[in-house]
Symmetry: C2
Subunit: 146 residues, 2 copies
């Protein structure tokens, strides 16, 4: 199992918004073109980002505004906005171990902490990168192409 591509799509969206906002109106159609997918997919992701209060979307006109300074939005914020994982658990535990078995009734207690730690390690790593980093690195890369 893998984490949905919606996450990388969301990061792609933010990058496009920042790189192109002065030159184009960044619409879901425009984004769909860069990401090479369907505009509706983009709109659904934008809705999730809006619900997480990360962006504002203008109806009628179209156009996306980021609500907070880029330096205050981490990859983790985007991840949490996008991944609707139940309880936020990365690891899916088998549902109903047998309570009459000594191992079965204790297995959760044995593993939960360790799995949570592994998940947190990943999430903490995501917190290290902000959208500002992403924007700057994108601009550098594009500039160096010439």
């Amino acid at each position: 199992m893998q984490i949905t591509s919606r996450f990388t799509v969301a990061l792609h969206i933010f990058t496009c918004v920042e790189v192109f906002k002065d030159d184009h109106k960044v619409t879901s159609d425009f984004l769909a073109g860069s990401i090479n997918t369907n505009p509706v997919i983009i709109r659904k992701i934008l809705t999730q980002l809006k619900n997480a209060d990360l962006i504002t979307i203008a109806r009628g006109t179209g156009g996306i505004t980021v609500n907070r300074p880029l330096s205050e939005i981490t990859f983790y914020d985007v991840y949490r906005a996008i991944e609707p994982v139940e309880n936020g658990d990365l690891f899916h535990f088998h549902e109903s171990p047998n309570p009459e078995c000594p191992v079965g009734r204790n297995i959760h207690m044995l593993l939960d902490g360790k799995l949570k730690a592994a998940q947190s390690a990943m999430e903490d790593e995501l917190k290290k990168h902000t959208l500002e980093d992403l924007k700057n690195e994108a601009l550098d890369l594009i500039a160096s192409e010439k």
Copy 2:
């Protein structure tokens, strides 16, 4: 998206093998009872563990033997044996960003390293725990029940 419950099932299996090996013959039926699932599910997971050279399975008689000292098998070893993630990538990247877009053709280079780092952080955390830890903690927990 979540990591399959097969991973926690595999850890559950190892725990049972260690806790019960002197008292019962640990068969896929027995394990299925503790884990509360179907014996065939167990056998498939056992096959994966066998292919990864972690265990040996006796045909005819039934019974599972762990191939290495428990202290030398980490959660990560089990994870890798179980999770058939393509390329081993935790994050699924959107397939085909538009190469004609400056962002589209650079997005992989921008994100790959960061995503890999997040994945590695999680995996390194899994490497910190061995099956020996798991066994000892299980025995402690069970003993403290009485």
